[in-house]
């Protein structure tokens, strides 16, 4: 059994997971209200993964994520305001409104997307780590990707290169058991993903991704190995997506019973229960946390609503480098 955190840290983990959950619940509402358009991939159910891993990262580490990355951006410290404004396609968004839900970028927190080609972020992560290694910087690049990416050639090419060149990449495989609508055992000959990773000569193991404390502990251990040894490490985070793949997905490929079964392991109530049983949080604490989050999200929505639509005359900007950030 993993040691319980101190009260303050326990509450912080809870706050981060709840922020992601409530933020995305609000996104669903705003999607129905047609304020957010395009694809919207929800992380609901998987929050413990981003929250747990992010605890082990330092401000100058880099993050490469997928198109299901609202949670990673929020937990990394990209403001709810700038993420919501991005979802609204406003200039004040973290990607200037040009990216949308799938392409959140933020130079200040070294948050490099927001990559919507499955597996496409892995080579980039290898490159960030290569730059750090050649420059002698002791930094970690955390690269998040789904189980579906494991079937892509870019996964294998990148794992090999990172291990061959001993690059400081923390590979975080968010195994939610489905590549869009195709179950893991229907598309992988070997379903033990940590075993696959280990074949590239790097430390690899599986973690209960529904347990934020387990994820945090594993991430600290893995990140320390990456940092100290300047070599890659692979974590398989076993998790589950409670919502459909995207807002377009009718969810025909799995049963309601299966979803309900996994919901019994919802990482948020699980943490609350443990903290409460240990007398570390009270109902008043929870109410207070919820209130802070509700205020933050309301503020983000207001900010996004009030944001600016980029003038059409600027359409062809940012195709080539303009020499200045936002």
């Amino acid at each position: 059994m993993i040691k319980l955190p101190e009260r303050g840290h326990g509450l912080e983990l809870l706050r981060q997971m709840l922020l992601v959950r409530r933020f995305e619940e609000k996104c669903v509402e705003l999607y129905s209200a047609m304020k957010i358009r395009g694809f919207l991939h929800l992380y609901i159910g998987e929050e413990a993964v981003a929250v747990g891993v992010m605890q082990a990262l330092r401000p100058d580490d880099a993050i490469v994520a997928t198109y299901r990355e609202h949670g990673h951006a929020l937990v990394r410290g990209v403001s709810a305001r700038s993420i919501m404004a991005e979802m609204f396609g406003k200039l004040e968004g973290c990607s200037h409104g040009r990216g949308g839900s799938m392409h959140l970028f933020d130079a200040d927190t070294r948050f490099y997307g927001g990559n919507a080609i499955v597996g496409g972020g892995l080579p980039l992560a290898v490159g960030f780590a290569l730059a750090d290694k050649l420059a002698g910087r002791e930094r970690v690049t955390a690269c998040f990707f789904g189980d579906g990416a494991v079937a892509e050639g870019e996964f294998h090419e990148s794992m090999n290169l990172a291990a061959l060149w001993q690059l400081p990449v923390l590979f975080c495989c968010e195994n939610n058991r489905y590549a869009m609508g195709t179950a893991l055992e229907r598309y992988e000959s070997e379903t033990d993903l940590a075993l696959k990773a280990a074949s590239y000569e790097m430390t690899a193991w599986s973690v209960d991704g529904m347990d934020v404390l387990a994820v945090e502990e594993a991430a600290h251990k893995a990140a320390a190995e990456v940092r100290a040894g300047c070599r890659p490490c692979f974590l398989e985070l076993l998790t589950y997506r409670f919502r459909a793949h995207s807002m377009y997905d009718p969810d025909l490929y799995r049963t309601k019973e299966e979803i309900e079964r996994y919901k019994q392991h919802d990482p948020i109530p699980a943490l609350i229960e443990r903290l409460r049983d240990a007398g570390l949080v009270t109902d008043e604490d929870l109410e207070a946390v919820e209130q802070v989050i509700a205020d933050e999200i309301d503020d983000a929505v207001e900010f996004a609503e009030a944001g600016t639509l980029e003038p059409i005359e600027d359409l062809e900007r940012h195709v080539y480098w303009e020499g200045a950030a936002l």
Partner: protein, 335 residues
């Protein structure tokens, strides 16, 4: 390379000029490194990087696995991460294995991040046919890649460009693709010992003329110049333009030339359909239609995967004779 002391020029090959440019870049900026398949111990599959591993060591001359997507993507990440990578993709055919990275990341990240990240990356690759290496090693896909906003494309066809394009390409904050035509590596000529950076924005007039403009790039520059020589006998004075920069295209030089000669033939080793020649032709028609005395003509590669036998391969490719015939047809059509 042999140095002639009297004139302070040296006899140099295209290959050596490319190598000198890489060496310069490595010496002048410690952020620069070269990576790709067989660039180190083998010396580069076309011999361009021969000797560089011994001089600069394996950290900066990095042999990679046969993983085009991973090492091109790693180049993008390293560029954003503060380095100045030169990535060698052995041939343009193999860049198809890295197209996801080239298009979805290199060309796109700056835009989809709202201008937060520059990608100062150079990707070099060999292009073109003519060496009997058949249908999977003879492509000219510059036209495909020139379709993509966010990329810059260069095609050195001369020794000064082989020597001078890399430096400014590395200074550029955008991903720059440099296409080296496989038929040019052994091209030899004189180059001033102090040859350095060249402009990477403009097309160049390689042979001034008055009667017709031949527009070429990379491997077809020689074809166009040979055709121009043959046309002298027919009393036709051809101007030859080397596009040099394939994206963004320099319309100005082309339109100005066609406005003087009133005729244009584009010589392109790409397949005709959807080619760079098609794009250049459209731009001439859009911008200089009323200057034309004849429809724009194109001499492109036949629409067939490149066959192995020499006679068929040569028949598929633009030849000086074909260009000459096209010009004579154009001029002889009563204009």
């Amino acid at each position: 390379m042999s140095v002639s002391q009297a004139s302070s020029t040296s006899t140099i090959t295209y290959r050596e000029a490319l190598r000198a440019a890489i060496r310069d870049a490595l010496l002048s900026d410690e952020r620069v490194f070269l990576m790709g398949e067989d660039v180190g111990a083998y010396g580069g599959s076309f011999g361009v990087s021969k000797g560089l591993l011994a001089e600069f060591g394996p950290e900066r001359i990095r042999d990679t696995p046969l993983s085009e997507s991973a090492f091109v993507g790693a180049g993008i990440g390293a560029a954003i991460g503060g380095l100045r990578p030169i990535v060698e993709v052995m041939t343009v055919n193999f860049c198809l294995l890295a197209l996801d990275q080239i298009m979805n990341n290199a060309a796109t990240i700056s835009h989809m991040s709202g201008g937060q990240f520059a990608v100062p990356l150079v990707i070099r690759m060999t292009t073109g046919a003519g060496r009997q290496v058949a249908a999977q090693h003879s492509h000219s896909l510059e036209g495909w890649l020139a379709h993509i906003p966010g990329l810059k494309l260069l095609a050195p066809a001369t020794l000064p460009d082989a020597r001078g394009m890399l430096g400014p390409a590395l200074q550029d904050r955008n991903p720059v693709l440099i296409f080296e035509h496989g038929g040019l590596y052994n091209m030899e000529g004189e180059l001033p010992a102090d040859a350095g950076a060249v402009d990477i924005e403009r097309a160049a007039i390689r042979r001034p003329g008055a009667d017709v403009t031949l527009i070429a790039y990379g491997g077809t520059l020689g074809t166009a110049l040979a055709a121009a020589d043959e046309l002298i006998d027919a009393g036709i004075d051809a101007e030859v333009i080397d596009l040099r920069v394939l994206r963004p295209l320099d319309d100005l030089v082309v339109v100005e030339s066609v406005s003087r000669t009133h005729r244009a033939v584009i010589v392109d080793e790409g397949w005709r359909s959807g080619s760079l020649a098609a794009e250049v032709s459209a731009r001439i028609t859009e911008q200089a239609f009323y200057e034309l005395d004849a429809p724009v003509a194109r001499v492109c590669t036949a629409e067939v995967p490149i066959p192995y036998p020499q006679h068929l391969e040569q028949a598929a490719l633009p030849q000086p004779g074909t260009v000459v015939a096209e010009v004579r047809r154009m001029v002889g059509s009563g204009v």
